[in-house]
Subunit: 280 residues, 2 copies
Amino acid sequence: MSKLGLIAGGGDLPREIIKACQGADRPIFVVRLRGMADPDLAGEDGYDSGVAELGRTFKALKGQGCKAVCFAGNVPRPDFATLRPDLRGMAALPGAIAAARHGDDALLRFLAGEFEKEGFVVEGADQVVAGLTLGEGPLGRVVPREGDVLDIDRAMTAARAIGGLDIGQAAVAARGVVLALEAQEGTDAMLARCAQLPAALRGAAGAPAGVLAKAPKPIQDRRIDLPTIGPATVVAAARAGLAGIVGEAGALLVVDRPAVIQTADELGLFVFGLPPKSDR
Amino acid sequence: MSKLGLIAGGGDLPREIIKACQGADRPIFVVRLRGMADPDLAGEDGYDSGVAELGRTFKALKGQGCKAVCFAGNVPRPDFATLRPDLRGMAALPGAIAAARHGDDALLRFLAGEFEKEGFVVEGADQVVAGLTLGEGPLGRVVPREGDVLDIDRAMTAARAIGGLDIGQAAVAARGVVLALEAQEGTDAMLARCAQLPAALRGAAGAPAGVLAKAPKPIQDRRIDLPTIGPATVVAAARAGLAGIVGEAGALLVVDRPAVIQTADELGLFVFGLPPKSDR
C-alpha cells in the first residue's frame, strides 16, 4: 500500500485513520489544517498547513512520496476574504469561490479535483479503514420497534431531501413530525435544540421517541465528507429523548465503533443500518 | 359581515385581527386557547378554552351567533396523552391523532374540517384583514441588490422544498449556502442560531449578507397557518447579519406592517415579495 497523505480537519475521524494505517503498517503523513485539526495530532509525522496553501501541500506530499490522499474531518467553509493562499492556492481560488457558490459539497469536489490534477489518488476514509461504515441491521443490542418505523421513514426521507439540495445530511423525526433539519450548524447543535423542544413533541425521559437519520447527499463524491457518527452522537441523541439513530448501510462512517456500541447499549438506543436507496 | 369567532393561539396575529374587526365594525368573539393566547386578550369579549374542548367551543360560538371562524396565532402540537377533551373533543381525538402522524398541517386541516362539519365557514386571516399579506416588490425603502439574487433563490427553493415535505416554512441562505432550515423550533430560534454561526458563513456587521425566505407549504390550506413575519422577525434577521427577507406575494402575513417597514428601513434590510410560484 502506498504512503497516504491525510488532509486532517476537525473531529475524531483523522485519528481513526491514523490508527488504522498504523495497525496495517501503512505509512502516513498528516497535513494538519490550521485551526481545524485536533491539537493531539501535533505529534504525528506531518506538518501544519493553511487551508489554501495548496502549492506547499502538494510539494510536501510529493516530497514524502505520498501517491494517495484522504480527506477526513470537519472543514468549515473558509472566509475567502481573509484566506492566505500561496501561489498555487491563488490559481485555484477563482474556481474555489465559483464552486462554493453552489454549496459546500461543490467546494469539496473542486478541491479533490485539484489534488487529482496533481496526480494524487483520492481515497475515501472507508477505503483506508476497513469496516468503517455502518452495515445493514442493528449495530448494538437494541433494535427498532414497530412504533419507530414511521419516524425512521420520515427522518430518512427528510435527510435525503435536504441532501438532494446540498444543504445538510441529517434530520430528526419523532411521533410522525420532523423536529429538526441540519444545515450549517452541525448534528450536535441540531440534537441540542431538539432536547429543548417541549416534551410533547419529542420523547420524554421515560418513553424515548424519535429518530436521528443521517444520509449521504445523492450528488456527493462518496470519497469525501460521508456522514459520520461517534459515541458523542449517541449521547446527544439520548439527551434529546430519541429512541435511535439510522443511516444508510455503507454510507455512514462510524468513528470509534466499540464505544458507539457500548454507549448505545447502555443508553438503550438503537443504531440501525438501512438498505442503500435503490433508485440512486 | 357576520360575527367572527376568533380561535386565538400565541403571538401578535390575533390582536391584529381583533383591531381590524373593530375598525370595520365587525363583531368578534375570541376563543382564547389556554396557555397559548396572549394574556393581553383577557379583556376582549370571549372566553378561555382548552385546545380539545371542541363541544364547549362550538356551543359558545353558536350561542354568540358566530357563523364564521378564523384560526390565528401559534398553536404548538399538543401532547395527546395529557389533553383534556370534552365529549365532542373525545369523538374527534382518534382522527386528530391519526392526522397528527402526517404532520402539523394535516392536524390543522383536520381541525378546520371539524368546524366546517358543524356549519362554520373558515376564513383566512388575510380574508378578515384587508392588506395583511405581502405584495409583490419591496415593502420598505431598501431593495435587494444583484449580489442577493442567488441567496434569494437558494433560500426560497429550500423553504419551498421543506414545505413540500410538510416540515417547515422558512430557510436562510447566505453567499450561496443554506445556513439553516426551520422545522419545529420556529423562525426566531432559527435566526438566533444563524447569528451564532461563524461570521465567514453569514454577513458580518459591516457587510450584511444572506436572506430569510418564508414560503407557504404547497399542500397547505391557505386559510390556516400562512407564514408570518412581524417587526421582531426583522430585528432577528438583522442580528443574524442578513441583508433581507423574502416571501411569496399574497402568501406571507405581515403583522404590524407600519412597524415592519420602519424597522426594516432603520436597520437597512429589504422585505421583498416575489411573484407566486407559477407551477403550483
